[in-house]
């Protein structure tokens, strides 16, 4: 087990190094000058040039990269060009929005998709199955920002139950904070739930065709136990794989929904940073998101092992 862990850790490090270099090169290859973006079209050219020098942007790219990497290893991600505050601090300040939002959306995704997928599989080729598939087709076809706007129109403009956007912060209390995250989490989770419903349905259908399920039924095991114990557990591996990938996608999807709902999260921070060519901030966010996704994958791997003893023993050999 320890060797398995070490191997995973090493690949974790290599992935991060690769991502950091990629993010670093990408934002520099992209045409666009941070100093020019700050000073704008009407800015004085000499003042813009002075700012460029002050930001250290006229040095060779490898030098800039190594310097940044050296800082990053020590936990110093540099200072944001736009906001003039440490990147680490900026990222940390946005996590109380993005993490709960992603978690809520993920929760919603699983809570909706698992039962619905199971239901559709057990009603295979019957009305319930078709209805579920049509709904999930709709969920996939409708982009999440549109779902978000529709939710705002219904719950904020017409019914007035929740605010149309913005986030007061957790200091305003658990209730108000969750209320501002509810609609975006629904919009974000709906799309992924629609995808997961289909994955769950087909995974469960595959298992239902297995011999041991037939045997179990022949033994006279109740349908609830057939589904609950024999089927679901065995169908979990493909479902976990899809869900793990989707958790990463939820983070990416939050970029758009944070704009629609005016939430001060990581996604909007990243979007603004790219538009302003705030290089240290883009790199910092890319590194953070990449690490999170690698960690999620790691967690999914462990979950595999928990769900399926064969993987556990294989890994331990």
């Amino acid at each position: 087990v320890r060797r398995y862990l070490l191997r995973r850790l090493a690949s974790f490090g290599v992935t991060l190094l690769f991502v950091s270099a990629l993010a670093f090169i990408a934002v520099r290859v992209l045409p666009g000058d941070p100093a020019l973006l700050i000073m704008g079209p009407e800015g004085n050219p000499e003042a813009t040039a002075r700012l460029r020098t002050a930001l250290g942007l006229d040095r060779p790219i490898p030098v800039q990269y190594l310097e940044w990497l050296g800082g990053a290893v020590r936990g110093d991600l540099g200072v944001s060009i736009q906001y003039d505050v440490p990147v680490g601090w900026l990222i940390a300040s946005r996590l109380p929005v993005t993490l709960p939002l992603t978690a809520l959306a993920g929760l919603f995704m699983v809570a909706v998709a698992l039962p619905l997928g199971l239901y559709a599989a057990t009603r295979h080729r019957r009305a319930g199955d078709y209805a579920t598939m049509i709904v999930s087709q709709l969920g996939i076809a409708v982009p999440s920002f549109w779902t978000g706007l529709l939710l705002i129109l219904l719950f904020s403009v017409h019914l007035g139950w929740v605010r149309s956007g913005g986030f007061e912060g957790w200091s305003a209390g658990l209730g108000p904070a969750l209320r501002s995250l509810l609609l975006p989490a629904l919009a974000l989770g709906a799309f992924q739930a629609a995808v997961l419903v289909r994955a769950t349905r087909s995974a469960v259908l595959d298992v239902l065709r297995e011999d041991y399920v037939r045997t179990a039924r022949a033994k006279g095991v109740g349908e609830a136990r057939v589904i609950g114990t024999h089927t679901l557990r065995n169908a979990l591996i493909p479902i976990l794989t899809v869900a793990g990938v989707q958790l990463g996608q939820l983070m990416a999807g939050s970029i758009i929904l944070e704009s629609v709902f005016a939430l001060p999260g990581l996604g909007r921070l990243a979007l603004g940073a790219i538009a302003a060519r705030d290089l240290p901030l883009v790199q910092g966010v890319a590194l953070f998101v990449a690490s999170s996704i690698v960690i999620i994958n790691f967690a999914v791997d462990i979950a595999y092992a928990l769900a399926d003893p064969r993987i556990r023993h294989d890994g331990g050999r």
Binding site: E42, G165, G166, A262, P264
Partner: protein, 489 residues
């Protein structure tokens, strides 16, 4: 009936809860800091300028220069200006404004080390002498017609020297409001300055700015009652709907933002003035305003915006005339038309929409336009900085920006010694009538040389709940002055 009654109760309660002294304002982007002397970003000016910090001179809601922190000034030779400061004006930190603060602020702006975005606005100043606590004399190299106006710009705000280090996060000034709170990513809150030197102002107790980038979300927030004023976020397509809604008022006014179709004057075929004139004749500007802006926005014929005192209406000087355009193209050797690329930054919705209308209009005279959408950072780097483009559409928001045409290195690459001479003369001509003559000449010369096609003035579009009063109708410069805004009783 019971439902209606309940609804009325709710509405009434909402009206009371809105609070007579509080205003929630939607703005599109969060300011990247609050220091007006470090960045020309309009998002900073939208919050800080005139609300938190003020200048010696102010541009009022009609575009007129009026004495402000300086109650008057005097000049005998147009080179030495003596400013007499208003007495008893206090900064938010309680200290009185003195002439030494003015000297500090202007010298700091002139110093290249401080990275002020526009040091050239103060380049004419050669000497600053503090005569006493309330009197300061500024000496210029030579008479400068823009000098007073430059002192009214956002980069010329006066702040106390001891607060220079907090300009970025908590700017201190003399304005009607103080910065009370900034929750990054969500809101900025301004609170009433009880010691404001203008008696009776401000009328609001609290202003909360919310950053809502998406125009549809901004509209939804307004309709849901979460914001009281949408300052910048609504598009022209939202205007008819809001005008029909009895809960709201729409402010449609003028701005200084000239939307232009720029042509690269250094590149063929636009190096030929006949082609540039043909382009102007081939474009039906009222149709562009109708198609791209839902009819909102004033058709423009030359560079100066209608809020400028020297504006001449030249919208009809080079009218829509496709036959004439074709004739001019033939004379220039392009009887069969030509192909060209139009680069537009979709960050500004009107550039793409105008581009689509213009493309179909130019098609009729044989000019085949391919639209290329280009991200804002790239637009700045490639089009603006390198002049790597054929055609582009953009709004020039600055007031008094005719100077761009006197700069042959500007991305238009328009190089007219005659224009440059006229402009140079206008810079040192202080007499109003003589200067007006020069400005009229410059505008007419521009029409003739057609370095760009002036399309329309981007309208000011703001929406507010009924009952909000005192908002500026026009924007003679980028400031959302809220000092006189209040709720109707």
């Amino acid at each position: 009936m019971r439902v209606i009654l309940a609804l009325l109760m709710v509405l009434w309660a909402a009206g009371v809860a809105a609070g007579q002294g509080n205003l929630v304002v939607q703005v599109t982007t969060e300011p990247p800091g609050l220091d007006l002397t470090a960045s020309p970003a309009s998002a900073i000016a939208g919050v800080v300028f005139y609300n938190v910090q003020e200048c010696l001179v102010k541009v009022d809601r009609h575009g007129k220069l009026v004495p402000w922190l300086a109650e008057r000034w005097h000049t005998a030779d147009e080179r030495n200006y003596t400013f007499f400061l208003r007495r008893g004006v206090r900064f938010h930190n309680g200290r009185e404004l003195k002439a030494a603060d003015v000297k500090f602020v202007i010298e700091r702006a002139m110093n290249p080390e401080t990275k002020h975005p526009h040091p050239q606005h103060y380049a004419a100043i050669t000497n600053l002498v503090v005569k006493d606590d309330y009197t300061i004399t500024l000496t210029l190299k030579s008479p400068n017609a823009m000098f007073l106006y430059n002192l009214a710009r956002q980069g010329s705000v006066i702040y106390p020297r001891e607060a220079v280090d907090t300009l970025k996060s908590a700017p201190v000034g003399t304005g009607p409001f103080t910065v009370a709170d900034w929750v990054r990513g969500d809101r900025i809150v301004l609170a009433r300055n009880p010691d404001y030197w203008v008696k009776g102002l401000p009328r609001l107790d609290r202003v909360t700015y919310r950053f809502i980038p998406d125009p549809n979300a901004a509209l939804a927030a307004l309709k849901a009652g979460d914001v009281d004023v949408a300052m910048f976020g609504i598009g022209p397509e939202h205007v008819p709907e809001l005008q029909r809604d009895p809960r709201f008022q729409v402010v449609v006014g003028e701005t200084t933002s000239d939307v232009i179709l720029a042509m690269n004057n250094a590149r063929k075929p636009y190096s030929d003035v006949r082609v540039r004139r043909a382009m102007t004749h081939a474009i039906n500007k009222p149709e562009v305003v109708k198609g791209a802006m839902f009819g909102l926005g004033r058709v423009l014929g030359s560079n100066i915006d209608p809020l400028n005192p020297y504006f001449v209406d030249l919208a009809g000087a080079m009218p829509y005339d496709p036959a004439r355009a074709q004739k001019l193209l033939a004379e220039a050797g392009y009887a069969g038309g030509f192909e060209t690329v139009l680069r537009v930054p979709p960050q500004y919705y009107y550039t793409v929409r105008s581009g689509e209308v213009i493309t179909s209009q130019l098609q009729k005279v044989g000019v085949k336009v391919r639209i290329e959408q280009i991200e804002w950072g790239q637009w700045l780097a490639r089009v603006y900085k390198e002049a790597d483009y054929d055609l582009t559409i953009i709004g020039h928001a600055e007031a008094w920006d005719i100077s761009n045409y006197a700069n042959p290195k500007y991305y238009f690459r328009y190089d007219s010694p005659r224009f440059q001479e006229l402009f140079r003369t206008s810079e040192t001509t202080v007499d109003d009538r003589a200067r007006r003559d020069l400005y009229v000449k410059m505008q007419r010369l521009l029409v003739e040389d057609a370095p760009v096609v002036w399309l329309f003035v981007h309208p000011r579009l703001a929406a507010a709940k009924k009952g909000v009063q005192g908002l500026w109708k026009d924007l003679p410069l980028l400031a959302f002055d809220l000092s006189e805004v209040s709720w109707a009783k």
